[in-house]
Symmetry: D3
């Protein structure tokens, strides 16, 4: 089985980080194709960058399908381009926010999300509602670190997430935490140990869900709401994204 | 006052049609800048095409601001790029689905939407929920005409919408109708007359709402959830969409 | 175009204040008929006073229609008598709470309401739910000033609203504010300037929405849920409110 | 114990009918004061008539309190004036729609309402949402009989409600029915027998709930959201409704 | 009339306490059968103990029916076994959480629940949602006393509930309180006096509701969602709970 | 890895059927312990039988933990005993309704459930709401076959489910189906092929989700809402279910 792990931003160090997380939990025989799109932003922290990322995701879903991938993961917590990707893919497509929230609903009675900058809270809020987690998501908290600062040792990402996590357990009464950025993927296990509750990284969970769907023979329906986009002549810069069936 | 009326698809005949609708209701002194983006799809009927359109909208919001526009209208019923556009605009940004649904909530107790192809129903459904119209929107109906067929006389768009509208009044108990495509803009008045209930075209209503916000001095807040996108070096094809402040 | 601006309370100084606000934003050619009903309470701060006000509103809608008004505004934040008014009016009827909340949903991702006395919070809460703003309305805050005290310089209405507004921006993460009383209408612009987010006064926004609906030829449907009240012989004091068609 | 059973319309035959229903289920020692207000409409079938009825209810709550009533029932399915009545009453106030819906939620998994004219459906719909019965109320059905026609033998009210009830059991999968008009009160037992599910008349259930609250020493809180209306000088026709404490 | 008051735990002192509460409010002629099941836990404070209690409740509903009871009350705030009990009972079955929440919705605009240990908060939360009290229930507060400690004088249950109640009135803006444990039944009246708002004990309210349903001839429908369990050969320990019709 | 697959009913042929389904999708190295509890009902089709099953599930979770199982699956579509099982288990616990609904939310825009008897619809309805699938679950359909009849060739289970599935695709506009009974597990693949949309069997999906959680090191938090049940002396028949830590 081959899973297409798409980092929608262009920072290759993050692609490497999530590839390592994914490979650490993948079942024997699962191959991980980890990529960044050719075009995009170095990190995704607002709606505008999500709009850019959506097209990068579509591009890489197509590339992944051409290379025989059986399933696709969108490894940015805003799940940019999820609906569009489902229309162009043959295999299932999973967003990491989606995967993490569904996992959290199966593991606890209520969860808190810990995200990077507070301006991204509203994005997680809308996703929680869309994915049916309106009641389960008790609060979304920001550590006020930019995505690319998570890797900077002097930013103390682990300590700040830990502190926010402690607040979530007591003030929000949550018994599960969701990490609100793919770039936090490597911290999940240590946080889980330190806090004594499941700390969910969407990247690893999405790998397991993707394997599940493939093994169960389940994919997105190719008609109805997610039918293939009709072939049309796209104009200008958009031509490069034309449907290629 | 100058309003930037963006047709997110590249069909100039539709741009002309909605420009005429907009100018017919604009207050004296309001200038309408009606445009299509340089890149995009000839019509927008799925999530993939919406993702494409979102970037075209961002582009034209920027062009409109450079030309002194005071407010922006996204004239496609899926409101593609609405959040991204608000981050890059100084003036208010209104989607026509948004405008039409809010108008419908102020005019009736429950409304039905009449859209083009049934594959777009789910898009309107998600928007209705997002805009708080979950309870007010009683049903979304499709006439099974493609967007560009609305203008073809032999497709009898008026008759088919009228028929669906009649069904909405009786079966859905709706007392307001929302037209689910900018390309139906020219039919609203005749349908209203024939059905005896308000038939709402988002284009014209959005013009009035835009004028209202400008006259009242109201715009999207430029900090918090809709703060300006940070300046970052976008890669590859995305470079053309870089933040230019 | 002639708009019927109804102040449902009997305080003529407030009628004057909102008339000035309305006229300041009305389009050229729009005439504002600003009135208080013959019977009612000097200010409206509880459910009982709203019940009284509802009949005053109905009375003035009828008077306004007799004088050729094209649309009606109920300028009290509880929107008293809104449904009844729609049954008796030919033109559209807009409540200022309704207008302000719909505007706030089109301008920001989440808003806070700032009302007068905390006993009115529950009224705004019910309206927010009814108008579909359940998720958008992040909190309703009271400055603990009675309606008629807003005009008293020693009450420092502006400063108290400003302070509450600041709290809303940080604690509620709101990026739009809604003023919860028609009597705050004259403070909106200064508050907007001071806070850097849209501060929405329902009176002015409702004027623009009313103009929009009239120009677009939209009115409340006169059958279905808002059909005209049947002619019946009302008894006792109610006789004065009989249907007069 | 003395219960104030208020028929908000002015049809004395209906007052007699519901008084009989109430007395048939009241506990020994419970006295029923059954009244119609001095002013009002002969039947209540739209929002305008509800606005009229609200003041009649307030008036009769005060009269009932003056006569020593311990609790109040608003015996019209729209529960007109409920919030206002709670502000002016010392004892608990119960609307029959409220009582019937809460009873239905305790007796079945889902209920249907059977109302008179379809124009009243929207009123029941809003009440269901307000009372938390959004999910439990599976459908609201109308028999298209005016309130005052229920008593006309040639209108076959019983048969028509029975037929609609049968449809509710099969098509809506309901296992409880709520009668949507006080004037159907005398039919509840026969319908229950014929259909084999609880058919709930709000009048009788409200009597039991009122007795319950009085015996348990429970009443509406007299501060907070339902604090007494402040004493103010009402103007014009409203003077007659002034607060009298 | 005979009411089956089931204490789902095995602590007979609590059975005595709630029997006294019930008898104090029962109408003349109402007999209270107060029992604990033969098998069960001494107190119910988690989901596991609720699962145990559910079968004890079913057992006692059957015993009560055999002894001619007309209605059944489940006197534990988690309402364990409510759906199962309705399937096996002929008379109506009422949970005390259900009764208290419905009463609170008829008495105030918003209520707070005061429960024992914070681990039971989630149970009350789920019930509030199930019973339609999602919006009315403003908060659930715990005094951190175990159920059986409520009776220990040195635990100062009254004082701690009073303190939490005061916080609810100010911080939650509630105007009704619901006691989250049958073992608090004897404190309701004193708390009500001290706080000036209705403090609702589900046991007493449920007695009144049960009497109401019996007098109105209302019971759970015996077909549809609550039809009798089919007769089947239960295995092992479950055999003792077999259907006995 | 060892997964505890609990069939909560006592029909061993069904235990065999689901064991086969589970083993067919399990990753290499995953061992499936498939069991029925010692006590219980031969099939589970009502709330009473669910209450019985809940204790059987608890019993088998404990047995499974004693035998080194790393995760637990409750293979009955009502997910009986889910909360209680989470309190007694060390590993994650997944219900098949839960797993199937979360999978459906990740694969399509809206799903229909196809269940056995219509009396079980309400159970699925409540679960859908609890799991956040309120909007995604478009309809629950019953084929009116008892659980144990699914295996009877003359009952034509496949054909009847297929027919209902076709209706779901067209009338409900669903693009995913959820099988509402573990006993339908063997039909999923053929139905998927015939219908062209994902047909989700909770048993197989739950196996993949369980593997995912174990590999990612995620389990239910053992404090907070799902803390271990306190050790207490259970009485009578319940003694056999005592906490054994």
């Amino acid at each position: 089985m081959k899973i297409n792990l798409i980092n929608p931003n262009t920072s290759l160090s993050m692609t490497g980080l999530i590839a390592a997380s994914a490979r650490a939990v993948a079942a024997p025989g699962t191959e991980i194709r980890a990529v960044s799109p050719a075009g995009g932003a170095p990190s995704i922290e607002c709606h505008f960058e999500e709009a850019i990322a959506a097209l990068g995701v579509v591009e890489e879903v197509r590339n992944g399908e051409a290379q025989g991938c059986n399933a696709h993961i969108i490894a940015c917590f805003g799940d940019p381009g999820l609906d569009a990707a489902r229309e162009v893919a043959r295999g299932p497509v999973i967003g990491i926010a989606e995967a993490a929230m569904h996992a959290a609903m199966m593991l606890g009675t209520g969860f808190s999300v810990i995200t990077t900058l507070s301006r991204t809270i509203v994005i997680a809020e809308h996703l929680a509602r869309r994915y049916g987690a309106g009641h389960h998501c008790r609060r979304i908290r920001a550590v006020e670190l930019a995505v690319l600062d998570l890797e900077q040792p002097h930013c103390h990402a682990f300590e700040r997430i830990l502190e926010e996590g402690r607040a979530a357990l007591s003030a929000d009464r949550s018994n599960a935490l969701v990490l609100g950025c793919a770039g936090m993927s490597d911290l999940a296990a240590r946080l889980s140990d330190a806090l004594g509750v499941p700390v969910i990284d969407g990247v690893t969970v999405a790998v397991g869900f993707a394997e599940t769907f493939v093994r169960c023979g389940l994919s997105t329906a190719m008609h109805g709401d997610y039918a293939r986009p009709p072939a049309k002549a796209l104009q200008g810069w958009a031509e490069a994204f034309s449907v290629r069936d």
